[in-house]
């Protein structure tokens, strides 16, 4: 990720970590060129509502299109392939992650699945 998007320059980059905090809306990112939203599945766990998330994805897409040279990078773990959980809340979260990833992938111009550091381009 860092290699592909040149994330190591540390100047015009805003990195949101979904494991630590909630993501911000695009209004605060005026000077940034690259915005990374990491830990997406953890962020979705706090708000397992795909409709809400679609609005958020679209807002960031609009921000990206608002100026030349901007990139938004979403990073998430695939949590949808294990045993279907018995607990209804866990199930709801997993379903929301699957639906969000589908909607996000349709909005994104590039999608990679990373296996042990090797990127496999899906889109």
């Amino acid at each position: 990720m860092r290699e592909r998007y040149g994330i190591s320059d540390g100047v015009h980059i805003v990195w949101h970590d979904g494991y630590q905090d909630s993501y911000g809306w695009p209004d605060g990112a005026k000077t940034a060129k690259t915005v990374v939203l990491d830990g997406l599945e953890a962020a979705i766990r706090r708000l397992p509502d795909p409709e809400e998330w679609e609005r958020f994805f679209c807002a960031w897409k609009q921000w990206e299109e608002g100026a030349a040279g901007r990139t938004v990078v979403w990073i998430g773990t695939d949590v949808t392939q294990g045993v279907v959980p018995v607990d209804p809340q866990e199930r709801r979260w997993r379903d929301a992650v699957g639906m969000c990833y589908q909607r996000l992938a349709s909005l994104c111009c590039r999608v990679d699945r990373i296996w042990c550091g090797l990127a496999e381009r899906l889109k």
């Binding site: 392939q81 294990g82 296996w115 042990c116």
Partner: protein, 185 residues
């Protein structure tokens, strides 16, 4: 040389790795690093099945049992030898949870680096090290800190090993899919 093989539970990854190690050894000494500990009857049965399969092979294996085995192996290695480690997930659990390393981010990282250095030392001392690991990453991100650090550093180990490996593959339903390099024939 490092060769990395991963796969899901019952995917056939051990068999694929054993065949690969035997080919690479070409009649020279094969070392087997066994990492599982028999905590219950099911584990005993699982270990027995692996042992029987190895005994049924014409190739003789020198077996190194965890937890001491991995530390003792290096001194015994000769340049034409081949090492098969099955599997990284068990070995890493033994290492990380043996003491208090899992309790801090730094401790867990230091333990993982130590394990990686051990694999590098083996690879430098023999013909090939074949590492078996597991596809653990699709069942969710664990809530408890110990398991979270275990998974995080296992992912890091996978990345380092695959980056340094000559060949890497994942086994699904008994089918081997090569992800990097040429599979040893």
């Amino acid at each position: 040389m490092i060769v990395f093989v991963s796969g899901a539970v019952r995917s056939g990854k051990s068999e694929a790795a054993e065949v690969c190690a035997i080919r690479l050894a070409a009649g020279e000494t094969l070392h087997y690093v066994a990492t599982a500990r028999a905590a219950d009857a099911e584990m005993e049965e699982r270990i027995r099945r692996h042992q029987e399969r190895r005994m049924g092979m014409t190739a003789p294996w020198v077996v190194w049992e965890a937890p001491e085995g991995p530390d003792q192996l290096l001194a015994a290695l000769r340049p034409p030898d081949v090492v098969l480690l099955d599997c990284l997930t068990m070995w890493w659990a033994n290492v990380l949870f043996a003491g208090d390393e899992w309790k801090t981010e730094e401790g867990a990282f230091a333990a993982a680096r130590c394990l990686l250095d051990q694999v590098r030392a083996w690879a430098a001392a023999c013909r090939a090290v074949v590492i078996v690991s597991n596809e653990l990453f699709s069942g969710g991100v664990p809530n408890d800190l110990g398991t979270f650090r275990y998974m995080k550093m296992l992912g890091w180990l996978h990345q380092q090993l695959v980056a340094e490996a000559e060949a890497a593959a994942v086994v699904e339903c008994g089918l081997l899919r090569v992800k990097k390099g040429r599979w040893p024939q």
